[in-house]
């Protein structure tokens, strides 16, 4: 199924165009077509100040606003074999990888971070859509397993924030195999009794939706995000009918029972803090507050060592157990 068709192509074009105009101080909202000053848009986290339309937000920016004081550690992800199939279409996959690495500064499409969110140690696995459409290959699959294990190690909730066109075709069957692998990853979090919360952002489609992204204990979605399995064009070509208004949008999924809540980007951090607290701190009134400054804070951007820190673990465990 070519679910990537609808999302990846126009976006890649959009990115290229944007870079062609160097002093792009004003940006047009694709929904209401009003112009927004770039600084204003940035301050609003890429939410249109006129109509509230949510444009895409780079993964790093997302992490910065989710964690307390914007401070977090990058969790070092295991390396995987690059280009296992020696895949080549009109371009070599190896070259595509190099370009994406140069353009984004990331190794692959997944960034895993650990830090405090509302004072609670939390693991966040965020997709970078700019990296080959956020597609899921071996690196992303292993990254999610690492994220899940780090959450278990730290006794922390896992938050996944997909923004992905689906499986990475250039890794063939090995990308398909990441679907069961990510299911196993979130199972580890679930079996440890820890929350797994998914924040579905635009777009979440294909093999990513049909694996870990639909298995959250709680599923939040950003307004207007496209979320689905098959691409809209594929569906249209198959059924030859007009698609209903708002098809595969976050609100549509909520109305059809597939997500719990559609949450404005500016409220997501508070929402996650509250949910984690409700799930992990069932008797807040009896919580024993630890003395002194909890734990040592590492600098943002520095990879965390993936071993357990007893002190961290104890203090992040809910007090009433």
């Amino acid at each position: 199924m070519s679910w990537l068709t609808n999302y990846v192509r126009p976006k890649i074009r959009a990115l290229v165009q944007r870079e062609d105009v160097p002093d792009n101080l004003w940006q047009q909202c694709p929904a209401c077509e009003q112009m927004i000053f770039h600084r204003e848009l940035e301050a609003a986290l890429n939410v249109c100040t006129h109509c509230g339309h949510h444009m895409r937000l780079p993964a790093l920016k997302r992490l910065e606003v989710l964690f307390d004081d914007g401070a977090y550690d990058r969790v070092e992800l295991p390396r995987v074999m690059a280009d296992p199939l020696r895949f080549r279409d009109r371009k070599r996959y190896g070259d595509r990888l190099k370009e994406s690495r140069a353009a984004t500064g990331n190794d692959d499409a997944l960034i895993v971070a650990f830090g405090k969110m509302g004072g609670r140690g939390t693991v966040v696995a965020a997709f970078d859509f700019r990296f080959m459409g956020g597609s899921m290959g071996m690196a992303v699959g292993r990254g999610l397993i690492a994220a899940a294990r780090h959450a278990v190690l730290k006794n922390a909730p896992l938050i996944a924030i997909p923004a992905s066109g689906g499986a990475r075709m250039q890794e063939g069957i090995l990308s398909l195999m990441q679907m069961p692998r990510t299911v196993l990853a979130v199972d580890e979090v679930r079996e440890a009794g820890l929350p797994f919360i998914v924040v579905l952002t635009d777009p979440t489609t294909g093999g990513v939706t049909a694996s870990f992204a639909m298995l959250g204990d709680i599923a939040l979605a950003e307004p207007g995000a496209v979320i689905g399995f098959a691409g809209a064009r594929v569906i249209q070509e198959t059924i030859r009918e007009k698609l209903p208004q708002g098809f595969q949008r976050a609100e549509y999924l909520r109305d059809h029972g597939m997500v719990d809540r559609v949450v404005h980007r500016h409220q997501i951090r508070d929402e996650l803090i509250r949910l984690n607290d409700l799930l992990m701190n069932p008797r807040a009134g009896q919580k024993i507050v630890p003395l002194g400054e909890p734990g040592k804070r590492r600098k943002a951007g520095k990879p965390a060592v993936a071993d357990g820190d007893e002190q961290d673990r104890n203090e992040e465990r809910p007090a009433a157990e």
């Binding site: 199924m1 292993r142 639909m214 689905g228 098959a230």
Partner: protein, 318 residues
């Protein structure tokens, strides 16, 4: 009447000649009988030549061959007392997914698989083997049933993919697939999967997260159809042949990649030339796979399946 594939033209010609000769041989002429056997040798030699080095794109054609045995054929050939069970208990019955109880070489089991159908009417009835969420939810239900009664699960995978439709999306196609995989990986009984024809993407892996994944010699298994891949990466479906090449979707490639555990030999000229022989070979392989798991306690069976998937790609570390 046989359906010949494009690359089988030489075979079609020889078979045509053979047909003519067979009419004549009713007369009982020894010379004609000789000719028939010589022709048969030539046909076999050509078949062997063609089928021993099929290109990936040719394999795709063979895997989709209309005369190739489908899920229901495998069930009829291998499962005694098959008792189909229907419905997801939530919304509907989805005939794209066949499932039920039966006895495989003496042991009770649960069978699940996608059925494509073999004529217009049955193809429509089975939605061409493209399941909706209800099909995957039925699969989940039957796999849980298997676990409750400690029965092994055998799945026959043959689908172009999950059905892309409005209703399917509304009722959670993605969730149904994810959950089916989760159940498949979770149950404490052996799960054996055989990719019998087309292993199409998420629609296939939903019921193929097994302890042992076997693949017929000329089956294909891929993250996306070559046509779909070509239309995205080459911007034109005309490049499907190149895409098939690049995707490494043949049983032989997947064995090398460690994604399948065994390749089941097909008869000369592929399964559609001798379905019974192909299905028997599949049965033998499934039996062997089940025997290898006999005597293991349920937790170990589950743990091994999970390890299997966690290990995929690990030896390819750079």
């Amino acid at each position: 009447m046989q359906n010949f594939l494009e690359f089988e033209k030489s075979i079609a010609e020889l078979e045509g000649k053979m047909e003519e000769l067979r009419h004549l041989s009713d007369i009982g002429d020894i010379k004609i009988a000789d000719e028939v056997s010589r022709l048969q040798t030539r046909i076999d030699r050509s078949l062997n030549q063609i089928y021993s080095k099929l290109s990936p794109w040719q394999k795709v054609q063979v895997a989709r061959h209309p005369d190739r045995p489908h899920c229901n054929d495998y069930i009829a050939a291998l499962i005694d007392d098959f008792t189909p069970l229907a419905g997801d208990r939530g919304f509907a019955e989805d005939a794209a997914v066949m499932g039920g109880l039966g006895r495989f070489r003496g042991r009770s089991c649960v069978v699940v698989g996608q059925e494509k159908g073999n004529d217009t009417e049955s193809r429509v009835a089975h939605n061409f083997g493209m399941a909706r969420p209800e099909g995957y939810r039925k699969a989940q239900r039957l796999m849980r049933l298997a676990e409750r009664f400690q029965l092994p699960v055998v799945t026959f995978v043959d689908t172009a993919g999950a059905y892309p439709g409005i209703g399917a999306e509304e009722r959670g196609q993605a969730e149904a697939i994810a959950r089916a995989m989760q159940v498949c990986l979770d149950i404490r009984v052996p799960v054996i999967s055989v990719i019998i024809g087309e292993g199409g993407s998420g629609g296939a892996i939903a019921i193929a997260a097994a302890n042992t994944v076997l693949m017929m010699e000329h089956a294909v298994y891929s993250v996306i159809s070559p046509e779909g891949c070509a239309s995205i990466l080459w911007r034109s479906g005309d490049h499907a042949e190149e895409a098939a090449e690049a995707l490494k979707l043949t049983a032989q490639d997947l064995l090398k990649l460690g994604v399948v555990d065994g390749v089941i030999d097909e008869p000369l000229g592929a399964a559609h030339r001798d379905p019974l022989m192909a299905m028997k070979a599949a049965g033998d392989a499934v039996e062997k796979a089940l025997e290898a798991l006999d005597g293991l306690d349920p937790d170990t069976v589950r743990a091994r399946r999970r390890e299997r998937f966690l290990n995929i790609g690990n030896d390819k570390l750079s």
